[in-house]
């Protein structure tokens, strides 16, 4: 099956992506796992569509990681990066250091020389930036404390690769120093250490100036041509150029790209760059994951299943425990620590590079490297599964324990209003009530958020508002109103369910995000539902009309009428939407509904709007009277 035909290969890889990712998504597994499994299935041991060239493709596809870090850099302005210095150096340093210190003796105990053990410890201490960041982004977790700390550690690991690559040759017993993997030799290989450092610092400083004084005008000129493909070409050129330069001075291309991204984070072309690079990054990362899956040596797995799987178990368990301990030492809340530990407990793509580099330098024997690469691939395959288990099975339970640690339920003050969720929406509702002398009891499920708000003197209680005991403790029996401001549909429905069962006297006002969830919440039975962006959208529309010269009062009345009709229609549609079961019918009714709405608005225009303070009929009458005389 191995044809040198480029198009055939492209066809196979794209087909794998197009088939496996939607299936994986549909099953709730996330795209990364989809790519990885597709790689395993297409790989040399099952279908055989991907053969030995998988390795080359992996090297090529690693460029996706470089692009991803460039994009991450674009999101991080230098000031933000500076604020992250403590997690990066502290958490990252602790993770790499402790993991290496734990793994090295394990290697020695298994009968390897200390040099090989240390090299293995360093290689396996690193996690997979590509896998973790992609999974976190897909689950919308990059901005959480756990997600941010995981990113900090990954960033430290990317930096740590540079000194590790420098150390590895020194561990070789025969002292045969070879160049970096591939053909990428460093210009400054022969320089003493201080000179190398100076060059690296010099290059980064140069980058800063180039970014500020050269790249921006250059992009300006390119943007003026209004040819999108040239802009894309320039963006790719920038990244590839950076990667090449970084390789030449012995810095990891990913780290270099990240720094380049940070330098450009403040430029006005940030979004332009982002949208141009994004598809390349996605495809290359997908390719990368497929090739990781394809490189899983199933023959080795069947030959030595016990050895491989016990190593996999040891690697995951040890890394997990170390991450949990570090997380707790750095005072992360238990739920964040779990996310942090589950996402980073695997070997990563750097292990492939470092292990093969160590092999070239005769630090580690080839049979060991082969096993370790298989182990790394399996841990990468398992990570999305563990993250899924954490998300689905562990996190939901977690609310309970944390809350009992944090607050004494009897201490919660009782108010007539309970607000579930103290975010954008809950805080505004709460402030408005407070301004009118009504106190509310706040419940929130994000432990870090709760702690922060408590520091600001706002009484927010930690806990899962769908639990009967917490609602009871918050005074649900005496309260009149429950306001749900979560943007999590499942949780909202769970809360409504609990309230119907145990506190049926409560009036429920609920936030809804998205077209479908509005209906689900109405069906669940709440007294009113509030579409999160509806009011601000309508307000925007009002201001737009006023800017166009419409009278403010006319616009005000029109918007109120629109809102009323829209809401009526919403409830009407909610009633009728179950008449059609098939998906196609649903879509058709959706369009019909929209049309109905628009039609109704138009009828409205003829029937009512012109009748407001209308003078037409009176003018006609007066004209008739005048004629009679």
């Amino acid at each position: 099956m191995q044809q040198g035909n480029f198009l055939f290969q492209a066809f196979i890889y794209l087909l794998a992506a197009v088939v496996s990712v939607p299936v994986a998504k549909r099953l709730g597994l996330g795209s990364v796992l989809g790519y990885l499994l597709a790689g395993v299935i297409m790989g040399p041991f099952i279908l055989g569509f991907i053969g030995d060239e998988g390795q080359d493709i992996m090297h090529f596809a690693e460029f996706g990681v470089v692009m991803m870090l460039f994009l991450i850099g674009l999101e991080l302005q230098p000031a933000k990066l500076w604020r992250l210095r403590i997690p990066i150096l502290g958490l990252g340093g602790a993770q790499v250091g402790v993991t290496t210190l734990v793994f090295t003796p394990v290697g020695i105990a298994l009968g390897l020389p200390w040099q090989a053990s240390l090299a293995i410890g360093l290689a396996l201490a690193l996690s997979s930036t590509a896998l973790v960041m992609q999974s976190l982004a897909e689950k919308n977790l990059t901005k959480t404390i756990g997600g941010r700390n995981a990113f900090s550690v990954l960033l430290f690991q990317d930096i740590a690769v540079i000194p590790i690559l420098a150390i590895l040759p020194l561990l070789a017993p025969s002292n045969v120093v070879e160049s970096l993997p591939g053909n990428s030799f460093s210009w400054i290989e022969s320089f003493p250490f201080w000179a190398k450092t100076l060059v690296v610092i010099g290059v980064f400083a140069g980058f800063f100036f180039i970014g500020k004084y050269l790249i921006r005008p250059l992009f300006h000129v390119i943007a003026k041509t209004r040819l999108t493909e040239i802009f894309t070409a320039a963006a790719l050129l920038l990244i590839i150029g950076t990667a090449l330069l970084m390789t030449k001075i012995g810095v990891s291309p990913a780290l270099g790209a990240f720094m380049a991204g940070v330098m450009l984070a403040q430029s006005e072309y940030r979004h332009e760059l982002e949208t141009n690079i994004l598809p390349f990054k996605g495809l290359l990362l997908g390719l990368f994951f497929i090739s990781v899956g394809a490189s899983l040596n199933l023959r080795l797995l069947t030959a030595e299943p016990i050895l491989v799987f016990s190593l996999v178990g040891a690697l995951i368990v040890l890394k997990f425990i170390i991450l949990m301990v570090i997380g707790r030492i750095f005072k992360m809340k238990a739920d964040s620590t779990l996310l942090f530990a589950f996402s980073l407990a695997q070997g990563g793509e750097f292990a492939f590079i470092l292990l093969s580099f160590a092999l070239q330098n005769n630090v580690i024997p080839s049979e060991v490297v082969e096993i370790l690469i298989a182990v790394t691939v399996i841990t990468m395959l398992l990570t999305p599964v563990f993250m899924l288990i954490n998300e689905r099975l562990i996190q939901p339970r977690f609310g309970t324990k944390e809350k009992e640690d944090e607050v004494d339920e009897s201490g919660i003050e009782k108010n007539s209003v309970i607000i579930a969720g103290f975010g954008n929406m809950g805080s505004v509702v709460g402030r408005f009530l407070q301004a009118n002398g009504v106190k509310a009891t706040f419940l929130d499920i994000d432990a870090d958020n709760v702690e922060l708000l408590r520091k600001l003197g706002i009484k927010v209680y930690y806990g899962d508002a769908s639990r009967r005991s917490l609602l009871q403790a918050a005074g649900a029996e005496e309260a009149e109103l429950l306001i749900i401001t979560l943007n999590d549909l499942d949780k909202t429905l769970a809360i409504v369910d609990t309230v119907h069962k145990y506190f049926p006297h409560l009036t429920i006002l609920s936030r809804a995000s998205g077209w479908e969830s509005v209906y689900d919440i109405i069906d669940a039975g709440v007294h009113d539902v509030y579409r999160e962006n509806f009011d601000s959208a309508l307000h925007m529309g009002k201001d737009a009309l006023i800017k166009l010269g419409f009278r403010a009062f006319q616009v005000s009345r029109a918007s109120k009428r629109f809102a009323k009709h829209d809401k009526m229609a919403l409830y009407e549609f909610a009633k009728t939407r179950h008449d059609h079961n098939s998906h196609l019918n649903k879509i058709r009714t959706h369009f019909e509904e929209l049309e109905k709405l628009i039609q109704r608005e138009q009828e409205d225009k003829h029937q009512h709007k012109n009748l407001d303070w209308d003078t037409l009929s009176r003018v006609t009458e007066q004209k008739q009277l005048a004629r009679k005389k």
């Binding site: 403010a552 009062f553 006319q554 005000s556 303070w613 209308d614 009176r618 003018v619």
Partner: protein, 200 residues
């Protein structure tokens, strides 16, 4: 010091207006006049009382300018009176903020002049219909001036409307230049009847 005029204009459907559109067209830019378009200012009826009080204090003539609806003002003016004319400020033992100022109404009506009066279908004169306003001014220790009225606005031609605009502006100039004979003015039923004399 020259007196100043505060015009509170209220038209809920100004986008359809033909007569008032012309009547007010120069007022905002006239010296000595503060022109406020109330429905534009407060489309949601959320009248800012402190601001409005400060404005009233800074002017000598208060003009309510509106099309007449059901023998009265548009509802926003009623809301304005309800909220702004506070006890202890506008009226009451210590309520002297408006004392000695003048109140005047500029009104457009759909119906013809002859319908206002005993014989007509509207039975009362505009001046009679303004009784609540007159009493409001009186309680606030203000001088009440007869209204400036444009009757039968529905059928007015453009030239006629423009003539009314001219008359109204003349009246405002007369007030600003202190040439109005207030004793005489108090006796007429409509300020329109002062215009011929002012034109001289």
């Amino acid at each position: 010091m020259k007196p100043r005029i505060l015009i509170l204009f209220a038209h809920p459907a100004f986008e359809k207006s033909r007569v008032n559109r012309v009547l007010i067209q120069n007022l905002a830019s006239m010296e000595g006049i503060t022109f406020r378009d109330l429905y534009q200012e407060y489309p949601d009826f959320d009248i800012h009382v402190p601001n409005e009080k400060a404005l009233l204090e800074a002017h000598e003539l208060l003009v309510f300018h509106y099309p007449m609806y059901w023998y009265s003002t548009p509802s926003l003016i009623k809301e304005y009176l309800d909220l702004v004319l506070e006890h202890g400020w506008a009226y009451g033992m210590k309520g002297n903020a408006l004392q000695g100022k003048y109140m005047m109404h500029v009104i457009t009506t759909g119906a013809q002049e002859k319908t206002y009066g005993k014989a007509g279908s509207n039975h009362f004169t505009i001046r009679q219909l303004l009784a609540p306003m007159e009493q409001t001014a009186s309680l606030c220790k203000m001088h009440f001036l007869p209204p400036f009225v444009v009757y039968g606005s529905l059928l007015k031609t453009e030239q006629e409307i423009d003539a009314f605009r001219h008359d109204l502006e003349l009246l405002y100039h007369a007030f600003l230049d202190k040439v109005i004979d207030f004793e005489k003015a108090a006796k007429v039923s409509c300020l329109n009847s002062l215009i011929p004399e002012l034109k001289k």
